[in-house]
Symmetry: C2
Subunit: 361 residues, 2 copies
């Protein structure tokens, strides 16, 4: 049977999830002549309004999955797609990228950390927490101050809290309903960084320059890229991304969040099996941005160039900050992206701005 | 009554025409958080597949125009929109940009040339041809070799032919059914150029650097931009565009086609009251491309920057040339745009490629 890849223009790409990442994936697919079908439970989603078709249905809806399976390839804008959905799509003969292994690994913070350890990639010390007794035994080893997170379904700092001492940790664990959790040791990092990396269907890998990230209340606030790092640090980041992509037989774009320690060594925090907020700078800083790169990878096209053409500061527009669109529209230094969300709820990602400066030397 | 402009993100922009220009306008609108409604008689059009809504109907269809009139602003991807359509939309309280005057002027090649002459802008010598007698009186003045064009509805070299001598010209006139025509004197140009210019709702004007165009069989083949021209030539082009935009009280992006004569003086060939094929280089060569610029203008946003970040060679992919997408996808020097057209008919514009080089000092 001849491979269906590379997909010809006019092919249909399915995207599970109708938020801003799905929207920007659809815009990138449109550039290359592809059509997009969105699966999303909410009507009038940001992605649906730039896509050829939308299935408004729960992710598990059997009829919607049947329809989605007719797409030439299917991808995701978020990592918490139920494993049963991917299994069902595969049963229907559909091809999903990235596949089940990266999704399953990323969905459970303990599996994710164990995966990195197995690959020889350094992470913060951690312990799986199934009950209060686990906290009592783990916390002394991790240090009195540690981060308690649910094992599953957190993002943007949701489902995580700093704890100090056993009593505090056990109380926090009770507050999350005693759900399976992970305790992570505090990391004395000097910077938060990320690398956006892609792997194509033929196994080729391309990494963008590192970004330096600043978070507020667990939510990404700014990315500065290319981050000024030593060659050794950059090589470490590329090695981490490469090993991760290869071990997961990954196809598509991945965001790998990193902690830089004093001296330049890196620990990995987590990976997102999808395009990533910290990669939005590539939209105005690179010829081929992370969204086109992801479409290229899942469509079986060769990957594009990843070098930076400019230094970019990406700033998220959260909640009411997007109400300031008049000022941003008039600011020639601001390259604006707005997501078309109807309601500017507090803290909600409504858009972002890329500000460009010439590259140094 | 407060102005409806600038339009807030989430506003609906109507676009008449569902081809590649409409598609790229919709992609640009999507970036800024706008929604798009396409009006287009053909189902499954390139633009419809990246737009929030599509009205599949004749341009004159009363119900479709009623629906389209609900858009916050309406624009066009081609200039041959019947004047009655714009009138109907205005009667329905809708706002069209550019308006009736630029459309009416561009739709009739004699009106267009007369308009330029009234503005003191040099054009080729010409004569309106209503009957065979007009040819006999005009041709000796214009030179024996001249270009016969229908007054209305031509594009990409359609409806035009070179004629030599009165008998030949009269035969050609008979072949176009004796339709109202124009005879244009041959211009001894050294280069074909264009300038993509924009005017915002507040009257501000921004011009991109000039492009140097090469046509084949009347169809644009390549644009090289920024064209290497003298300061005097560039200033002439900007003066021509500025006068044209202001005289027509124009809002939006316009393409102005120019002939460069020996010595650097410019004659105007024609203007297109819309985004223009010779402006596609801006998509990869400028921060704000002509599509975003047009959306900004019609939405009442301030215009964006127009400086070139790179030297770009844009090449159209005509007909079966787009079948070569595998090669183009693998070429790191090629920034590919494909229009999602289902059929690669001979000579049809299927996509284009931008190739970037660093700007010269």
């Amino acid at each position: 049977m001849p491979s269906r890849f590379p997909l010809p223009p006019g092919s249909m790409i399915g995207v599970i999830g109708g938020g801003q990442l799905g929207r920007m994936l659809a815009l990138a697919a449109g550039r290359l002549g592809f059509d997009v079908t969105i699966l999303e439970p909410e009507p009038d989603s940001p992605a649906s309004r730039v896509a050829a078709h939308t299935l408004v249905a729960r992710y598990e809806d059997p009829e919607a999955l049947q329809a989605l399976a007719a797409c030439d390839v299917i991808t995701f804008e978020f990592e918490n797609v139920p494993a049963a959905v991917v299994e069902r799509l595969e049963t229907l003969g559909a091809l999903a990228a990235p596949g089940r292994l990266p999704l399953a690994t990323a969905q459970d913070r303990v599996s994710e950390k164990e995966f990195f350890r197995e690959q020889g990639i350094a992470t913060a010390d951690f312990a799986a927490i199934a009950g209060a007794a686990d906290i009592a035994s783990a916390l002394p080893r991790l240090g009195q101050r540690a981060l308690l997170k649910t094992r599953r379904e957190g993002y943007d700092g949701k489902g995580q809290t700093w704890v100090e001492g056993i009593a505090d940790a056990q109380a926090a664990f009770a507050r999350i309903g005693g759900k399976p959790a992970i305790l992570e040791a505090a990391v004395p990092f000097v910077r938060e960084m990320s690398v956006i990396a892609a792997r194509g269907r033929s196994g080729e890998i391309a990494c963008y320059p590192l970004g330096e990230n600043r978070h507020e209340a667990g939510v990404l606030r700014t990315t500065l890229a290319p981050a000024r790092v030593s060659d050794a640090t950059r090589e470490q980041a590329i090695a981490i991304a490469t090993r991760t992509l290869e071990a997961l037989d990954y196809v598509g774009v991945m965001g790998v969040e990193l902690f830089e320690l004093e001296g330049g060594d890196l620990l990995v925090n987590e990976f997102a099996p999808r395009v990533h907020n910290s990669g939005h700078w590539t939209q105005d800083g690179c010829e081929v941005d992370q969204f086109e790169q992801h479409i290229r990878a899942v469509a079986g096209w060769p990957l594009g160039k990843t070098n930076a053409l400019a230094e970019v500061e990406m700033t998220n527009l959260l909640g009411a900050e997007a109400d300031d669109w008049r000022t941003l529209a008039a600011d020639p230094s601001a390259r604006v992206w707005l997501y078309g969300k109807r309601e500017a709820r507090a803290g909600r990602k409504m858009g972002h701005v890329n500000r460009l400066r010439p590259l140094e030397g």
